[in-house]
């Protein structure tokens, strides 16, 4: 019992509900409490699923089996490359981008030509897609009405035209209520998310009904299909069509981000980058769910309507109706209407923004009679243009539907649109990742790709319905076989979509790259390229403001803003901007580069970047920056970063070098001081004996009367002092030789025990004179080391004579010990003298340091013996040190390593 009136009422009620959701979303957004959560964002992406998905997929599955899935696998894979999407969002936010045309135009130097070109391609490309929606809604309506035998409209009206008109009105109500600087429509996004849920539920409901209600579930359905020979092939993947499979995945992967409505939803309507993280899996999950029942529905329809005439695109309606499930059919109709409406709303809003900003406005701004500069408030005109654009686009959709719609199934029409928007891919990807891409390249690529698409896909679709002569498809243009529209240059064996896609992308990419490489970007273009490609590296503001130089007046810019945004909105934005810059009133702001940039950004939101640039340029006198200058500024920014890093490294290196230098300097100074000390000490040491020699000589010389005893005593002193002087000079020379490494060494086997005994023997008299006991603990033979015998004797004598000097007479005792362990010989000379403090233990090895108190005691040695001895021992690889405590005697120890034991060489 479905009357036309009831269907109409239900549809109106549903659209009213959508509208209410949208108003609610807008109200919440105005109140600052956005209802756009990550889930809402992810669901709104499902605007991708249109009537095509809802009705068309089933139709496609009846002829192509599982190949309909490519359209949903492509987006799943594309979304996983989340970096690309985040980059698009980041760039769009930084540049205030409102559409895909704006994106491409802005990247290539805010070019009005490119903006217009992209808009034209998008409108022409998407028109078939809108026609698809009209066709689907009208077909579904027809099915319902046929069923009830009622008539919806008086016969003079065309129901499709009425649907198009209603959709236009609804879209206008929806999307162009006010002019937002960011072109964001939160209410619309909320409504789309809502309708996405409705269409999913409706589709699942009919899927379950058919699979489990009409048939006995998946297994039975598939088994019955497998039994029918003409259906069995739908169950298997046809690997001979693998090229088409890949092409469709590529095509849909590009469509998910480059269709104007998808760009609108994913990029422009994104309020928070982190929402993408949810969308990356929730939206594909939605796609999986909405596709599970497609093949069962197709098979069910084919089995059920075997032998009758049917339209597979409307199986989702006709199947429940054939079982009298009218309520379910109504739900499905609402789901389909929902899918179509959602698509039409978002698509036409996105396209109308592009048409207004990138096509009509630039043209109006150039017309003198229009008098842009005289009009006080242009925001009303902008809205008017957008509304007209919406009507126009739907009208074009209707015309296409009439011209070519009958010849194609739903999916066939949609794919034509996909192939058109795929043309944006080279300019978009190149623009985001390749700084070298130029405007000339982008224009050439887009024109080339679009022309090929037009010739190989769109025009043949008209030819098929007989609108134009199909000669260029069948025989080739002017009868040239190589120019056959769907077998270009003889490329055949592909379906028409893959054929068009490969040729158009080939032309597009080829031209884009070749022309880019052979053209030079303008200054503005180079700056934009840098900002797009390096968007993650540039801060939100950073060097941007520096790329503008000139003079402007605040008043003129403000009046510009008021004219395009409306006075109220302009003042709001100005107040926000002033507050962010710590100024109480915008009138106090300077008309500097940042303010100009702000004004341009606000205008971009309303009229697109290309037009905004023209408008700002009309009131601000900008000094043109040359290309080189722009590069310099941009390079400066990168270079400053590089330099500062380099500088940091250099300064650290410098610090290290300075520290090293300071240390070396310290060492040098120390050495210098030591040299000075040495010389003064040597001089002093030499002068002491000289002075006494001279004094006594003078006395002998001046006083001839001196008695013999005195004379003999004086001469004895002179002889002693002369000997000491000689010894001193010898030792100084010895020391110098040792230190400079010019000393002559002989190396032979030396029995250290024997050396010790000889040294003791040679000093025996000295010990006896002083009454000092000399003891020894020396093995009878050995140990034998490799050394210089005379030098070793010198060390031994030195240590012994030191010891005898410091021990007290009569009670003094000196003990010599020689012993060897596995690796070295250890020689000790121990005395019971006054001992040394810890400090003295170290300094006595310095040159000219005498034991005892140098101030009171008469020097008893030269002060070179120990340093020389240490040099000798160390030369042979040993050590010389002293162990002592004050009052406990001293023990001088030196070691000499034993020669390595000879290896036993072999058994023979």
């Amino acid at each position: 019992m479905l009357s036309a009136g009831f269907i109409l009422l239900l549809s109106a009620a549903y659209l009213g509900l959508l509208f209410a959701v949208a108003r609610f979303g807008d109200a919440r957004a105005d109140a600052g409490r956005s209802i756009i959560t990550a889930n809402v964002y992810a669901l709104s992406l499902a605007v991708y699923c249109t009537s095509w998905t809802f009705y068309g997929s089933v139709g496609r599955a009846t002829s192509g089996g599982l190949s309909f899935l490519t359209i949903y696998i492509g987006p799943t894979l594309m979304l996983l490359f989340v970096g690309v999407i985040i980059k698009m969002i980041r760039i769009s936010k930084a540049q205030r981008i409102t559409s895909i045309a704006d994106f491409i135009a802005s990247r290539y130097g805010k070019s009005q030509l490119l903006a217009g070109l992209v808009t034209v391609i998008a409108v022409i490309g998407v028109v078939p897609y809108i026609a698809l929606q009209l066709k689907a809604v009208s077909a579904s309506l027809e099915v319902l009405l046929d069923h009830s035998g009622a008539s919806f409209m008086p016969p003079m009206f065309d129901s499709t035209f009425v649907i198009a008109a209603l959709l236009a009105v609804f879209t206008i109500l929806f999307g162009t209520r006010h002019l937002d600087a960011t072109e964001r429509h939160e209410g619309m996004v909320a409504a789309i998310a809502f309708e996405s849920v409705v269409k999913l539920l409706a589709f699942l409901a009919v899927g379950l009904f058919v699979t489990y209600g009409m048939f006995g579930g998946f297994s039975e359905l598939f088994q019955r299909a497998a039994a029918a020979p003409e259906l069995a092939r739908l169950l298997q993947l046809d690997s001979s069509r693998s090229g088409t499979w890949t092409a469709l995945i590529l095509l849909s992967g590009l469509a998910i981000i480059f269709l104007p409505r998808q760009f609108q939803i994913i990029v422009v309507e994104n309020v928070d980058e982190s929402h993408v993280r949810r969308a990356v899996w929730l939206f594909p999950l939605y796609l999986v769910l909405i596709n599970i029942f497609v093949l069962p529905l197709a098979l069910g329809g084919l089995l059920h309507f075997q032998g009758q005439s049917f339209n597979p695109d409307t199986f989702v309606l006709t199947l429940p109706l054939s079982r009298g499930a009218e309520a379910l059919a109504l739900l499905v109709f609402i789901g389909g209407l929902s899918a179509a409406t959602g698509m039409v709303i978002v698509e036409t809003i996105a396209l109308s923004t592009m048409v207004c900003n990138d096509l009509v406005m630039p043209w109006l701004l150039r017309l003198r009679w229009f008098g842009v500069s005289e009009r006080r408030d242009l925001s009303g005109i902008l809205l008017g243009i957008r509304r007209a654009a919406i009507v126009l686009i739907l009208l074009l959709g209707y015309i296409y539907f009439r011209a070519a719609g009958e010849a194609y199934a739903l999916v066939g029409i949609g794919l034509i649109s996909f192939a058109a928007v795929a043309q944006f891919a080279p300019a978009m990807f190149g623009g985001m990742y390749w700084k070298q891409g130029t405007r000339a390249g982008a224009v050439a690529g887009l024109l080339g790709g679009f022309a090929v698409w037009l010739y190989t896909l769109l025009l043949p679709s008209f030819a098929r319905s007989g609108w134009i002569d199909p000669g260029f498809v069948e025989q080739g243009l002017w009868g040239i076989g190589a120019l056959k529209a769907q077998a270009l240059f003889g490329l055949s064996g592909l379906d028409e979509i893959s054929h068009s896609l490969w040729w158009s992308l080939f032309a597009n990419i080829g031209l884009y790259v070749l022309v880019s490489l052979n053209s030079r970007p303008e200054a503005l273009e180079a700056g934009q390229a840098e900002r797009f490609v390096d968007v993650f590296r540039h801060g939100e503001r950073g060097s941007d403001a520096r790329l503008w130089r000139g003079t402007a007046s605040v008043d003129e810019l403000v009046s510009l803003l008021e004219r395009f945004l409306g006075p109220l909105r302009a003042r709001q934005q100005l107040a926000t901007f002033a507050a962010a810059h710590g100024a109480a009133d915008w009138k106090a702001l300077p008309a500097d580069a940042e303010f100009v940039r702000f004004a341009e950004a606000q205008l971009s939101g309303a009229i697109g970047s290309a037009s905004a640039r023209v408008m700002v340029a009309s009131v601000a006198r900008e000094e043109s920056l040359g290309l080189d200058e722009v590069f310099d500024i941009l390079d400066e920014a990168t270079q400053v970063r590089a330099y500062s890093r380099e500088l940091e490294i250099k300064s650290r290196e410098l610090e290290a070098a300075t520290a090293e230098l300071r240390e070396a300097n310290e060492r040098l100074r120390e050495l210098d001081r030591m040299k000075d000390d040495f010389i003064s000490t040597v001089t002093h040491e030499l002068r002491t004996p000289l002075t006494s020699i001279r004094a006594f000589s003078e006395m002998l010389h001046e006083d001839p009367e001196l008695d013999l005893a005195d004379r003999t005593r004086f001469l004895g002193i002179i002889v002693n002092e002369a000997e000491r002087l000689t010894r001193l000079i010898n030792q100084i020379l010895d020391m110098a030789k040792l230190e400079s490494g010019r000393a002559e060494w002989t190396a032979a086997d030396v029995d250290l025990g024997e050396v010790a005994r000889e040294a003791m023997a040679s000093l025996e008299q000295l010990f006896r004179d002083k009454g000092v006991a000399l003891e020894s603990e020396i093995p009878a033979h050995g140990p034998v080391v490799l050394a210089d015998r005379d030098r070793m004797t010198q060390v031994m004598i030195n240590l012994l004579s030191n010891a005898v000097k410091f021990v007290p007479g009569a009670t003094g005792r000196v003990k010599v010990r020689v012993k060897a362990d596995g690796r070295q010989v250890r020689v000790e000379v121990e005395d019971n003298g006054p001992g040394l403090s810890a400090e003295e233990c170290l300094v006595i090895f310095e040159k000219f340091r005498q034991g005892g108190n140098a101030m009171t005691d008469k020097p008893q040695g030269t002060g070179l013996g120990l340093p020389i001895s240490r040099q000798i021992v160390e030369y042979f690889g040993g050590n010389l040190w002293v162990e002592s405590r004050p009052g406990a005697g001293a023990r001088f120890i030196f070691t000499v390593p034993l020669p390595a034991p000879e290896k036993i060489t072999g058994e023979t």
Binding site: L66, L69, I73, T76, L77, M78, L80, F81, V82, G83, I86, F218, S219, E220, F222, Q223, A226, L235, Q236, L237, S239, S242, W245, T246, I249, S274, R277, R278, V280, W281, L282, P284, L285, V288, I292, L295, F536, R537
Partner: protein, 64 residues
């Protein structure tokens, strides 16, 4: 300088894994049927669902 966001890289890796799994020639591997349901149908939806589940796991792992 921010480089190599791990989340983006993991998801992209899933994408790169998914491309060969969901295109020919690997797609021609499943044959026959299971419980009446064609293997190709099960394979496509199985791999696809698995990708979605893995992506969800990666994307939601560290909360917000």
């Amino acid at each position: 300088m921010k480089r190599g966001n791990p989340l983006r890289q993991r998801l992209a890796a899933l994408g790169l894994l998914g491309i060969p799994l969901l295109t020919y020639p690997l797609l021609s591997l499943p044959s026959g049927s299971w419980n009446g349901i064609p293997a190709s149908f099960l394979y496509l939806f199985g791999v696809w669902t698995l990708l979605v589940v893995l992506a969800a796991g990666v994307a939601e792992r560290r909360g917000k």
